[in-house]
């Protein structure tokens, strides 16, 4: 069943492209410490707003162009003609813990620390944007999954039960959703962030905020699932299952809920970007991830300096590109999944 679904998803061009892109992004986030040449908090105040370094193939090795700071006031750098540093592969560098567990110190590529490599330039304190982008991906990408998993699970079970049982459980659940929908989310976040910031580190607080947000956010999903179940409940195939003497739980899990999946899967994949953008917005406002940890929203927030626009430091906006790519990939995946999950859209053959 799951293998069937995967095959059917990957046979669609949109599904294949978005799945590959997301797989690429998620593995980049997972192996961030290994893929990045340094650590996200490593500063180099001599090299602020460094442009992306160019790579050159020389003497059978990949080399990095060396630069010279010409004017510190406008942060303009000039390549030093004929001066290159060769890249070293799998060289030991700053120690880190892979997956937060395995201690290691090898980096996929690096250069001697006196000549930093900035694939995507450096920021206001000379930190590598590429490294921060990779580390930030971890937070930005998992936030959406956690939030969506929680809302979908709560929405499906509570909405499904409310619609199926009817009567007082239904009224109770619906009044609860109405109450939750009336809570103003942004103010709650501001209040929670203020109340919790002193007690937890920034990423733990943020996780807590996501959990609280999804504990509020399931209301919308639950109401739609309830409506779907209410309309499905009167369909003849449900009546047929009743007449056959099927147990109520089996009817709920075999006949009712699977028929809400095509909605739920699309809604879930389409709301992942919502959480990613929500994280970006919060971090942008300074309520989400705090320094020195990195996230895409935080990086974008820090790129709001007028200097960056005036001097065209475009590489500081790459987190925006990453967000756009992720959001598009999730939307495409949602579409392809909807088609793959619904037998009516099954592709011909097999």
């Amino acid at each position: 069943m799951a293998a069937d679904l995967l095959r059917s998803l990957l046979r669609r061009p949109a599904g294949l492209i978005s799945a590959c892109l997301l797989l690429f992004l998620y593995s980049a986030a997972l192996f961030a410490p290994f893929l990045s040449p340094t650590i996200p908090s490593a500063q180099n105040l001599q090299r602020t707003y460094h442009p992306p370094t160019s790579l050159i193939w020389k003497n059978g090795r990949l080399c990095v162009q060396r630069y010279q700071l010409v004017d510190p006031s406008t942060a303009s750098y000039q390549p030093l003609t004929g001066q290159f540093t060769s890249l070293s592969w799998f060289a030991p560098g700053t120690p880190y813990k892979l997956f937060g567990l395995i201690p290691a110190n090898r980096h996929l590529f690096s250069v001697p620390s006196s000549d930093p490599i900035y694939l995507l330039g450096s920021d206001a304190t000379g930190r590598d944007v590429f490294t921060r982008l990779l580390y930030g991906a971890g937070i930005s990408l998992t936030i959406g999954l956690i939030g969506v998993a929680l809302t979908s699970f709560l929405g499906l079970t509570i909405g499904g039960l409310a619609g199926y049982l009817g009567g007082w459980p239904d009224s109770l659940a619906m009044r609860l959703t109405e109450f939750l929908m009336a809570v103003p989310g942004l103010y709650l976040l501001l209040a929670l962030r203020a109340a919790l910031s002193s007690r937890f580190p920034s990423d733990a607080t943020f996780l807590l905020i996501v959990v609280i947000l999804s504990a509020l956010g399931w209301a919308g999903t639950a109401r739609v699932v309830r409506g779907l179940v209410l309309s499905l409940r009167e369909r003849p195939f449900i009546l047929a299952a009743n007449i056959l003497g099927q147990r109520p739980w089996t009817i709920l899990f075999r006949h009712l809920l699977p028929n809400t999946f095509s909605y739920l899967i699309v809604a879930a994949t389409l709301s992942v970007p919502g959480y990613i953008l929500g994280e970006a917005a919060l971090s942008f406002l300074g309520l989400g991830i705090q320094e020195p940890a990195s996230s895409w929203g935080l990086m974008l927030g820090q790129a709001q300096d007028i200097k960056i626009f005036m001097l065209n430091f475009w590489w500081l906006l790459t987190p925006g590109v990453a967000i756009i790519l992720t959001v598009i990939a999730f939307n495409l995946l949602g579409d392809a999944l909807r088609d793959a999950v619904d037998p009516r859209f099954r592709l011909p053959g097999k």
């Binding site: 369909r235 003849p236 195939f237 009546l239 007449i243 056959l244 003497g245 099927q246 009516r344």
Partner: protein, 264 residues
Amino acid sequence: MSTPLLQVFNLSVHYPLRSGLLQRPSGVVKALDDVSLKIEKGSTLGLVGESGSGKTTLGRVIVRLVDPTHGSVSYQGEPITSLRGSELRPYRKKIQMVFQDPYNSLNPRLRIGTILAEPLEIHFPKMSVPDRSERVAELLKLVGLDPSFARRFPHEFSGGQRQRIGIARALAVEPEFIICDEPVSALDVSVQAQIVNLLMDLQEKLDLTYLFIAHDLAVVEHVSDQIAVLEHGKLVEEGPSELITTQPSHPYTQRLLASIPSLA
């Protein structure tokens, strides 16, 4: 004289109407009003009446989807309207239903094989998996479909084929009594004849008893031994089908008969 297979005694189903801010009861809708019927084993009772006359409600009371307000239904002399849960199970196996709408009567997410295996899982829990798929193939053949259809999904079939699958599902539990709730009204005329003939063949082969609900007197006349006419929840006329169709005594039946379109 032996007891009829199914008897309906003074059956009423009333729905309260509520209105106003406080939802005070302001009247009742009488979906069924004091209806009594009996059906002999191996026979077909045709139930006719226009939309809203309570035909479907009667069928749903018999399969226990709707609880009656007054009256009772008994099967082989045993009252079944007050049974709950496990007491009801044996009757779930004996009484089955075929639905009007072939497009909504099959779960779109399940393959035909799974749909037909479900009743077997419930009522023949000891059946092994290969036996079950053999029985599914047998059922498909019984309703005139290819056994290979078991691997397909409902949306791949026409209305007539789906209706056959619906009949196969009802037959899976080896029932004695089948309620056909307007089984042909959603189908093309040519397909209607095929389904009606299939139902009649099956009746002969499997010794089935039918409650055949329809609004089309022409079809009912063809399949029924007895005909009962419902109007606004009340039974207005009942009798052998030739008598009802040739000498209707109630004006409502006469109007229904006159409304049958003819080529002449």
